[in-house]
Symmetry: C3
Subunit: 436 residues, 3 copies
């Protein structure tokens, strides 16, 4: 039997990301299915793949027709493909309607998208709810399209009898209370957005699955953005949704920038505070906390007023704030193994906070207990005893009146959550502490 691979390998995450990169995903279609199929091999057992029929009403929305694409190109009179979908999935506007005919250059121009200020990059464009077709290409390439007419071909289908696909994985814990991790799975060949989060989430699931015990049930949801999250909420509104205690939308976890946490709508919930402490403790060179806003990723749905779930959004540099965003420069080279590993470490810390965030009762609360005779204190006094370990013991003892959780103590003391948890364990072992 093969040695189980240690979780948290940046190289392994990056290899999976490269495998997923070429697939053309959209909010429906085979790209999502294929992506879930590959992902399944890297997840703990139990991935469920759901298909929801096009046209199904989901709250204010309806599941859209299923879109698939086999081929697409712009060719010149010589039959040369001057823009070829097979070279890059970004070349086609997602959800383009089928087309195959000769068009004048003027007509073609109305269907082209490029970035004059980033002339070497292909932009990412979608048109989910407005039927049209279009190509995306580098502005430099566009400027070389000088012929009078071109053959355009988009061999796509929009199937009203299709379905929307999403995946989810549930790791049961001692409690039915759930922690939700949600990733969007609908972007084509974009590495940071959001393959990075898919592979980090998969690695986190592996780590959670390997733990001897889990306090919470963990649910990983891989959904197309917006309508996918709304569909998931609709299908689970009476089951999983009421059990969610903490949650995170994971996005853009592969780039080089510092972490940014966007608070849940409720703000200052346990998940908001747990992420802040995890980022502080991880000490990866600064991080930013932002207030909730109803614009962004699927936290928009989880935090809509009818649900108002304690779900925040963890990213590195937020969307739209790095030049590679939604362009062909968001490729596997932009996402380094070290960056994936850092993101995984932060999420591991978040889970550790959630798992160990108990309130304790000091069993010797009148004055300090004598730590020395229990081997928990150094002996020669008079010098400065500022060591973190002793501070952790003192903080846990002082705050453990049954009202303060370890997360409270971590915030008030400024000490690392893990160290406080270790101190709590040591104090429980010598009979000075019990769960409240």
């Amino acid at each position: 039997m093969a040695e189980p691979r240690a979780t948290g390998s940046g190289r392994a995450m990056h290899a999976l990301l490269r495998e997923l990169y070429p697939i053309c995903r959209s909010i429906t279609g085979d790209g999502v299915r294929q992506t879930l199929h590959v992902l399944e091999r890297h997840l703990p057992p139990g991935l469920q793949v759901h298909e929801v029929a096009s046209g199904t009403p989901v709250f204010d929305w309806a599941v859209p027709a299923e879109w698939n694409i086999r081929d697409a190109y712009i060719a010149d009179r010589q039959g040369r493909r001057v823009v070829d979908f097979r070279e890059h999935s970004l070349h086609v506007v997602s959800y383009s309607t089928p087309v195959h005919r000769w068009v004048s250059r003027a007509e073609l121009e109305e269907h082209l998208h490029s970035l004059p200020e980033q002339p070497d990059l292909i932009p990412y464009r979608t048109s989910y709810y407005n039927p049209t077709w279009g190509f995306c290409l580098a502005h430099n390439q566009r400027q070389q399209l000088l012929d009078d007419e071109y053959e355009v071909c988009i061999d796509s289908t929009l199937d009203a009898n299709g379905s929307l696909t999403y995946g989810q994985l549930v790791l049961h814990g001692e409690s039915e209370e759930e922690v939700l991790f949600s990733c969007h799975i609908c972007h084509p060949s974009l590495a940071n957005d959001n393959l990075a989060s898919l592979v980090v989430a998969a690695e986190l699931a592996q780590w959670l699955a390997a733990r001897p015990r889990r306090r919470y049930t963990y649910r990983f949801v891989f959904v197309p953005v917006t309508v996918g999250a709304i569909t998931w909420l609709h299908e689970h509104q009476h089951t999983a949704v009421p059990r969610i205690r903490h949650g995170l939308v994971l996005s853009l976890l592969g780039g080089p920038g510092n972490f940014t946490y966007k608070s849940s709508r409720q703000a200052q919930t346990t998940i908001d505070r747990a992420v802040a402490v995890a980022l502080r403790d991880a000490d990866l060179g600064g991080f930013e906390q932002r207030a909730f806003s109803p614009y962004g990723y699927d936290e928009r749905q989880y935090c809509s007023p009818g649900f108002n779930l304690p779900v925040g959004c963890l990213t590195r540099t937020p969307f739209g704030e790095f030049p590679e965003y939604h362009t062909s420069a968001d490729n596997p080279d932009f996402v380094q193994p070290r960056q994936l590993k850092e993101s995984w470490r932060v999420l591991r810390r978040v889970c550790q906070v959630l798992e160990h965030n108990y309130a304790y009762q000091n069993l010797s609360p009148f004055g300090e207990p004598q730590l020395g005779r229990r081997g928990l204190y150094k002996h020669l006094g008079g010098g400065l005893d500022g060591q973190q370990w002793q501070m952790a013991l003192l903080w846990v003892l002082n705050q453990s009146d049954g009202q303060h959780t370890l997360l409270d103590v971590a915030e008030r003391s400024g000490l690392e959550f893990r160290l406080l948890n270790k101190a709590a364990r040591a104090l429980r072992q010598v009979g000075l502490l019990t769960k409240a």
Copy 2:
């Protein structure tokens, strides 16, 4: 029929200010009556002028004797008026007792007030509750009074059978709940303090009167400072006072400085927050918010502990913080039409916030509603959709759980209140929103 003049004209406000400027006002007397008479022509119909008899007990005070003045001067042996009340109403200490005799220069000096550090300016002085007489003059002028004796004449009367005069205008709204605007009307020839606020208040009243509907009843009160406000409170303690929901003391609204808002005693009431948002939205180059203090204008009375009304004080540069304060340099040139117009605009925004500050209920609260099919969203995705209008729609939808008013949304989102109100109207029109 003449075209009705558009409200908010800085020139019209300034013309009215110049008309009012020469009148010698005090806390009682014909100056107040004359001022109200002029003001009436520029107000919507309905100004009430109240006379309260001298000696009437008003809480801890009694209405003072009525003071009037016909003439006053200091003359030399040659009969030349070296100081002449007819030239400037500031020349006489307000409430000076009558006097007419020859005095030595030494005695005269004890009754003179000037500003050695602003030697060209006449100061403003009063002696309401200590019977005495005095003259105010430029320090340079004072230094030329070298004769041995002078004739002093103050042809004033203090009538114990007189009355205190104040005006008020009530614009009824759909609700009996009231918004109070209070201006002091007792200062003589001082333009910024407080003719500017009188003319801005008159213009605001015109604008409110012209509105097709008013949610609130608006009450404009023009009172002598301190005893006038106390008299008004005494006379309305069982009628208007319990209906006041929001209020502002208006003062110094004509100077060139930035706006300053002094919070009500309660602090963080709706009016405090409405003014802050109005000033932020008006974007007139910075403004200052100050905590309540029991020193200042008539907010002292409205915020006395027995009333504790939600009444703040809006000024531009506060009293005592600009060199023209309480001197002859506070003249119509100091008050520019543009400044009056800005003040009017800020107050209009305040009223708009109060009128439209409702809590709404999102009628499609589970996930985001599909704005696209309602024509409220642009279609081609993938680019950055940061436009304010879409943000306004999303914020209103997200926060409308029946608990948050539009003012809450304006504060949390940082978006302009007017834009949010427009978004709320659009969402109501498509059936996504209703008043909570």
Copy 3:
């Protein structure tokens, strides 16, 4: 009969400090008794000296054996004392077990403590709960110990039938509610730590004893650090402890640095706020407020979760943050009379706040009362009346709705507590104010 000395003399406090300085104190033993004996002469009558038998269980601890020392030295072959306890009490590690024999230099080295970075200073070291012996000496002196062997002698006793000694003084007030001042009394020849606080506390007790009335009962506790405070808490857990309303641990009150106040565990209790206002009002060049932490002096015990008393810690520069800390440089020269006097003044202000912190009711709460006719206001208006006295009158009147104490008013107004108290007294005298 001799004239009673005025309290608050820095010179008198410093003289007492010098008298106490040479005594070798520890957590038990004759040094504490001798110190209390000297202190008694400088306290108001009533000092109680308590002896608690070694071995007595006190919560999680037991009272330690009593330690006494008669002599100690390191001598060379020539019989010369190269380190001599008679020269400085710091030379012996406190609680050293007895020893008298020849040791090799190598063995001796294991029992020596010095400060290489402060080579001229003797450090302070203790070993209360780990039986060993040791000497402390200047690093320069240590480097001259080049002989092969030395005679070491520590003529100490550890008596399991001894006792732990502490002192307390209670000044009864009108109420049984108590204010606690606690000082540690266990350090040997260290002036700032903590003789300075002992002498300041003694002076404060004199001042309190001389007051015609005391609202609170004041309790001064002089205890060995940690086990002494725990012993005191054990002995008074059902008597004094439940009556403590406010308390301070006093330490390091003689050094030259700015004041630092460390909040109680509860934070923002009356004592926390009273100290902040006292330090602000004293205006001694800046002070620092720090959050509670469970490391420090005996606030660790008073703020343990079973007691959670409103007890903060007042020092000048905190422990470990000045180079003289726990060395022979913490001598009487480091503690200047002026510094002791400043500390006394701050504590006097704290007591004044506690004594006078009542909520009042304005008896003329509708509008401002007319201060002028009561002689509480100057007459000639129009100028700026910003004087502190009038502001104090206005603030007290405005806030006195029965809900706000004078401490609340001091915080909100920024005015000196004493001035507000004086204003409250004046307003009571004219019948405008009454205790709520």
